[in-house]
């Protein structure tokens, strides 16, 4: 009963989120080849044991110096290249109609990291990309030494990821190069990483790096998989896996066979020729206060419905995961659930009494 009521409240909350205007669609490709996306948007596509991770780094418009971000990765990428200009925007367009350009919001880039053993270095547009391997201390120190201003929560966040995978990508905008290319504030550079891995996972906790506790983290996460994916923690509206905790900050908006037109459009974009004829599309909208985003999204794309606790950031077991999610529930939601539960119990008692009478 309590679980149903809690789920009901969570669904109501999710419905509210869906009802808000979609700012994230219809981005235009700028004259310099940059993409404009209003919120953090990520594609994790998985096929034949390879994760294709596509995300965009947004130029914030600084006129001097360098600035960048740190991204934890599930494995060592075999390739890091400029992503197609169209992929992320096409996915956004698939799930929401275009909106007038004037409604775009600025979005802040995510802070990224790298490790002391340099695995790979490349330059993509005005971005200096370094893939590094190392522990939290080594990665953090490297970042500090290379001009990344780490926020105070960086040591614990880096440690959270390094316990699972010691591969990080540091992406740094060269402001001078960006200016030379004519990049404006809000212009994004899509990056496509090809990562062999047993199962994909999407780093979410890193999105809260340096954010204030109540600040809401917005992100759109797209998955393309051969099978219907099982996810941990479960987004609201997702399939019911036994004992899996529910993340109220994640809303499953779409779960369907990708349309033929979407597949065709994506396949013709740069670096997307690997796509098979048919894939399953999952779209998750994240809107969670920073202090509740203590998890990542683990995915089992094999059809065995066993997403990894470790990949979700809960190495100590399902009970710890459930407790974490429960503890991170916003207070108002907990009170709403408690109120609904009390109301339900009172109604039941009243009905019984009336029947007896």
């Amino acid at each position: 009963m309590a679980r149903r009521l809690l789920l009901g409240c969570a669904l109501a909350c999710g419905a509210t989120l869906i009802a808000t205007p979609a700012y994230a669609c219809g981005g235009l490709i700028g004259p310099n080849g940059a993409v404009n996306l209003a919120r953090t948007t990520t594609l994790a596509a998985y096929h034949n044991g390879i994760e294709h991770y596509v995300t965009a780094f947004t130029f914030t418009g600084a006129t001097k110096g360098t600035f960048g971000s740190i991204v934890p990765l599930p494995g060592i990428p075999t390739k890091v290249e400029r992503g197609g200009d169209w992929t992320l925007q096409r996915l956004e367009r698939e799930v929401a109609p275009p909106v007038p350009k004037g409604l775009f919001l600025d979005h802040t880039g995510v802070a990224f990291a790298a490790a002391p053993e340099i695995i790979l270095q490349t330059k993509i547009d005005a971005l200096d990309i370094t893939v590094l391997k190392g522990g939290a201390f080594a990665v953090g120190t490297w970042a500090e030494q290379h001009g990344f201003n780490l926020p105070p929560d960086a040591p614990s966040v880096l440690d959270f990821y390094a316990r699972r995978s010691q591969i990080f990508m540091a992406a740094r905008f060269d402001a001078a190069a960006a200016a030379k290319r004519g990049q404006r504030a809000g212009d994004g550079t899509p990056i496509h990483l090809t990562i062999p891995t047993n199962n994909p996972w999407v780093p979410l906790r890193i999105l809260a790096l340096g954010k204030q506790g109540s600040e809401v983290i917005d992100a759109d996460v797209f998955l393309l998989t051969d099978n219907v994916p099982a996810m941990l923690p479960q987004p609201v509206g997702g399939r019911n896996l036994a004992s899996a905790p529910l993340a109220t900050g994640m809303q499953l908006v779409r779960s369907e066979r990708a349309s033929a037109s979407l597949m065709q459009d994506l396949k013709i974009d740069k670096g997307m020729g690997w796509m098979p004829k048919s894939m399953w599309l999952t779209f998750i909208r994240l809107a969670a206060p920073a202090n509740t985003l203590g998890y990542d999204l683990a995915i089992d794309a094999t059809g065995q419905n066993q997403p990894s606790l470790q990949a979700a950031g809960f190495p100590t077991g399902i009970a710890a995961a459930a407790k974490h999610i429960r503890d991170s529930l916003p207070l108002w939601l907990a009170w709403t659930a408690a109120g609904a539960l009390t109301g339900g119990l009172l109604t039941t008692m009243l009905r019984r009494r009336l029947r007896t009478a």
Binding site: A138, L150, D153, A154
Partner: protein, 130 residues
């Protein structure tokens, strides 16, 4: 009478021993995940304490002892290196450093880090002087 005097002398000696000791008490303060451990300490008025400061984080931290008003002033200050200043230290990533400080009269002080965002994040603790 002689025995009583001897006992009194022993007790007096025992009481004065810590104050006369040549090596001050050492308190180890760990800095990890942008927090201090311990976050609260008790000292005596007039006591000199040797702090062993251990920065386990991959970022620079500070250890600055002062009143609440002094901490607020540091929060908007622009000093980058606090080493050599009384009751203050800056530690590079992974660095261990010692700092000796003599506490004055009874009351309470705060120790804190004023790197951008660290104080607000909770990198602070209290020292009670009895």
């Amino acid at each position: 009478m002689t025995l009583a005097r001897a006992v009194a002398a022993l007790l007096l000696g025992a009481a004065l021993l810590p104050a006369c000791s040549s090596s001050p008490r050492t308190i180890t303060v760990d800095m990890r995940f942008s927090h201090y451990l311990p976050t609260a300490m008790d000292v005596r008025a007039g006591e000199t304490v040797r702090f062993k400061l251990v920065n386990e984080d991959p970022m620079t931290h500070e250890f600055i002892i002062g009143t609440a008003a002094q901490q607020e002033a540091h929060e908007v200050g622009g000093e980058i290196d606090h080493n050599g200043l009384p009751g203050q230290a800056s530690l590079a990533p992974g660095e261990t450093r010692t700092l000796s400080f003599t506490f004055g009269r009874a009351g309470s002080l705060i120790f804190a880090c004023h790197r951008p965002g660290h104080y607000a994040y909770g990198m602070r603790g209290t020292i009670t002087i009895a």
